[in-house]
């Protein structure tokens, strides 16, 4: 791993936390983990969160960004549907800046039939989800790209949610209330003290420094990685890992979330997200949590299947494919992963013949992260004998009230005087150099991907083909000594990571653009798989 900040920054950060003690140690910087950190902090309980990558490195950052109405679950899993609509309303209140309230349509095609539609409307009613039945003509006037053969649609309060902002805001709020958070810090072992877990051993993944953190409680909020942590205590829970693959288009295909109105299946949803749309999803068993790819077959399947809802989808430009791994709680009966409950579970290992002081929270979904955190912290409070109620459902996140849509970004840019605008690093997404400078000044980012996570750099049409070269120039300017000789290694690592997302969608216009990017980096800049050539002909 190649770093982009100075050794001095890291040493400073490390000294503060070396061999620490805390009340509650949380493992995992996804929505659940940061949600727990915020809930604990709001209730005045000291905590420390460790995350082996950056925030949202797992399923929290690799989903569809869907603010579920619960409609998808209404027919098959009424309890999940009720949880969704309750949390949907709470999130709109506490995190309006992470949400685009687009609404959603459940679209019935002739092959879906009217019966499921009638069931759907009934089930939504029972779960407390508002529905508005639309005629084909009404649906087409709202979403002109829909298949004109549709037999009807039902509008529900779906929306789009930005998981990264949500998680970072939870983390930021927790930190402002005294929580400590260490990213790029991996748990290597659980420390036992007789029948209790007394803390964890961790390793900084960038500096390789190892240290210990003592804690009264250890919460395993690692999602799909839950068994990875539990193995350190000789434990295991029944978790099915299900890979879901998604595609991103270059433009926004619809104004609303589009769902097929039929039993949950693969390839049945299109979620608008800022300037693009996200198409999903597949459901395949995942064996390896660290290495999984989107296959050409999955891509073809998604495009074919979703072309039923939007017939001219095939001509669209796709900019990227990605996959996430859902942690699904294993039920007794085998079968389709979609039939496994999307519910969550909270396991107190001490009460089921494991060591005391260790709690696992897993399963669930992004929509219920807050509820999962609430239940976890309720349990910890109960065991600590504290009677402090949860307030995360009423306390708004710190950035609430601040717009984050394209329109807001353009307005902010327009309001600035020309001289203050400065250089635009990313022409696709209009990211000014100043935005990166501000993140660097905060001093929390450790590597290139951390910067990319926190801005819209590399998220646009060229997927970083142009702006990352510029970003590295900026980093070289700021940290000359530290990245000397290394920034082309960072650049090459970035291009490899980018490749994982781009390779599955290379045809048509994307492939054309890729020839440009390859011509720049391998042709013009002569970056190769081998060692660089230096002036005078010697190798580096």
């Amino acid at each position: 791993m190649v770093k982009v900040v100075t050794m001095a920054d890291i040493a400073h950060c490390r000294r503060k936390f070396m061999d620490l003690q805390t009340e509650v140690l949380i493992i995992g910087g996804g929505a659940t983990g940061t949600g727990i950190a915020r809930d604990l902090s709001l209730r005045g309980i000291p905590c420390l969160l460790v995350e082996k990558g950056d925030f949202t490195s797992g399923a929290s950052g690799r989903n569809q960004g869907l603010l579920h109405s619960g409609g998808r679950y209404a027919v098959n899993d009424p309890e999940a549907a009720r949880e969704c609509i309750t949390e949907n309303r709470i999130l709109r209140r506490i995190a309006p800046h992470c949400i685009e309230p687009t609404d959603g349509l459940f679209v019935s095609l002739p092959e879906d039939g009217p019966e499921y539609r009638a069931n759907f409307i009934r089930a939504c009613g029972a779960a407390g989800i508002d529905t508005l039945p639309l005629s084909p003509r009404e649906a087409l006037s709202l979403e002109p790209r829909l298949n004109p053969r549709l037999i009807g649609a039902v509008q529900v309060p779906d929306g789009a949610i930005d998981p990264f902002t949500l998680v970072v805001e939870n983390a930021r709020d927790a930190e402002s209330r005294g929580a400590h958070i260490l990213i790029h810090t991996e748990v290597t072992d659980l420390i036992r003290d007789g029948v209790r877990i007394a803390g964890v051993r961790v390793r900084d993944r960038i500096t390789a420094e190892a240290f210990a953190i003592a804690a009264t409680w250890v919460i395993n909020a690692t999602g799909a990685w839950a068994n990875h942590i539990l193995r350190m205590a000789g434990l295991q829970i029944g978790l099915a890992l299900s890979k879901g693959s998604m595609l991103i288009t270059n433009t926004r295909l619809s104004e609303r979330v589009l769902n097929r109105c039929h039993p949950p299946a693969s390839g049945d949803i299109i979620v608008p997200n800022d300037t693009v749309s996200i198409l999903g999803t597949t459901s395949l068993r995942a064996d390896d949590l660290e290495h999984y790819e989107v296959t050409p077959e999955e891509v073809t399947f998604l495009v074919d299947e979703l072309s039923r809802m939007i017939p001219d989808l095939k001509g669209e430009r796709f900019t990227r494919a990605y996959a996430g791994v859902r942690p699904l709680l294993q039920s007794e009966e085998a079968g389709d992963d979609r039939m496994i409950s999307r519910g969550f579970t909270l396991i107190d290992h001490g009460s089921c013949s494991g060591p005391e002081g260790l709690v696992t929270i897993t399963g669930g979904k992004l929509m219920t992260y807050r509820l999962m955190a609430e239940k976890t912290v309720d349990f910890i409070c109960e065991r600590m004998g504290l009677h402090v109620p949860c307030s995360t459902h009423v306390q708004r996140l710190p950035g609430a009230g601040q717009g984050h849509t394209l329109q807001d970004r353009l307005l902010r840019l327009r309001r600035q005087a020309p001289a203050a605008k400065g250089e635009i690093l990313c022409d696709c997404e209009l990211v000014p150099r100043e935005a990166v400078d501000a993140i660097l000044r905060e001093g929390k980012v450790r590597e290139l991907q951390d910067i990319l996570h926190r801005t819209r750099l590399a998220k646009g049409t060229c997927q970083g083909g142009f702006c990352v070269y510029r970003l590295l120039g900026l980093l070289n300017e700021r940290h000359k000594a530290d990245v000397s000789g290394g920034s082309n290694l960072i650049l090459k690592a970035f291009l490899e990571e980018r490749w994982r997302g781009i390779r599955p969608v290379l045809w048509g216009t994307s492939l054309k653009e890729e020839e440009l990017i390859e011509s720049i980096y391998k042709g013009l800049f002569n970056l190769t798989s081998g060692e660089p050539v230096l002036p005078g002909g010697g190798g580096a």
Partner: protein, 408 residues
Amino acid sequence: MKRFDLIVIGIGLAGLTAARTAIGMGAKVLIVGRGMGALTLFGNTVDLLGEIPPETDIAEGITRWIAAHPEHPYARTGWEGIESAIAAFRGLFPPPYDFTASGQGNVLLPTGAGTMRPTWLTPVTMAAGAAMTPAETLIVGFRGFKDFQGDTVSLHLKCRGVTLSLPRYGLEGLSAPALARLMDETSFRERVGESIRQQMAGERFIGLPAVLGLREPAAVLKTLESVTGARVFEIPVLPPSIPGTRIFHRFREELIAKGADFRMGHPVSGVMVKDGRCEGINIQNPPLVAEYRADRFILATGRFLGGGLWAEMDRIIEPVFGIPVFQPEERGKWFGERFFDPEAHPIHRAGVVTDADLRPVDAAGRVVLANVRAAGSILAHHQAIEEKSREGIDIATGFLAAKRALAS
């Protein structure tokens, strides 16, 4: 309706070379293109085959290489064909803005990523880059010009670097063409030279982004060298490319002077084929569709970027004539698992296969259209990006295609 001896489709370096060669042979030529051609994106120097080590004699190296790569476009032209085509190219660029080889082998020049890159012919504005030594070189970037990161270059090359501010010009709009046009003004380049001179600490070489003027680059170079007292060289930047645009303009100027017809900015919308021959093409210029007829045609439309090849979800096609395209069997095999795979991605070998006369053939080796030839990067069985042969293939096959077309 006009009738031509030859219609060239494509205005990249291959198409321009073919058109110029044909005009030189007295033919009446039409050249059509829908964009500006890859020259204006990446054109800087003239590569023949970068993978031949600098210490190897290029003629010997390429001759040996052709023997080992019998399907490569160079196997159609041979070393002699490359040599005469390159000589003709050089004839178009008399001093002061001339292209030269520095010896018998490839030469290494610095890039915008601070790497060294092999090439064959170098324009006068880049020549000193081959002689630079890190201790004696100052790399100069311009604040606000984001497509050349001077600190990246100087750190990797282990040179000293400075970033100059150009206060009169805001930070937002500094593009390579804007800078190049400013450099064409004598007073501007004198001031830039003076700012550089003030930053120097005894360096003998100055490396600058490749924006040293569009109209009179040699004069820009001369000014900067006389003000700084050092040897100045250009370093290639992110697209668009100013040195490539110079090549494009020089060709266009020559073709217009010699009476070639141009149709730029509109795509070929249809072709008229009869009895295994192409009789004419349609060019869409809404609301009109114009018809142009010729005895011969050269297809030099480039690869995917230029529109010469197009990838559907399940296959690669040639959109103008529907000529069969040699390609990997399925989409999953187009690209390797890693971006920097040691082997070039299989899709780069895809393209149009031809007979010795550069006439496209089908899988059975039969000529598809008797009076159509293909030239440039659309041809199959090369890996121009990795092997660094883009300009060489364009020039050598464009030259040969025109010669063969007019001999028929």
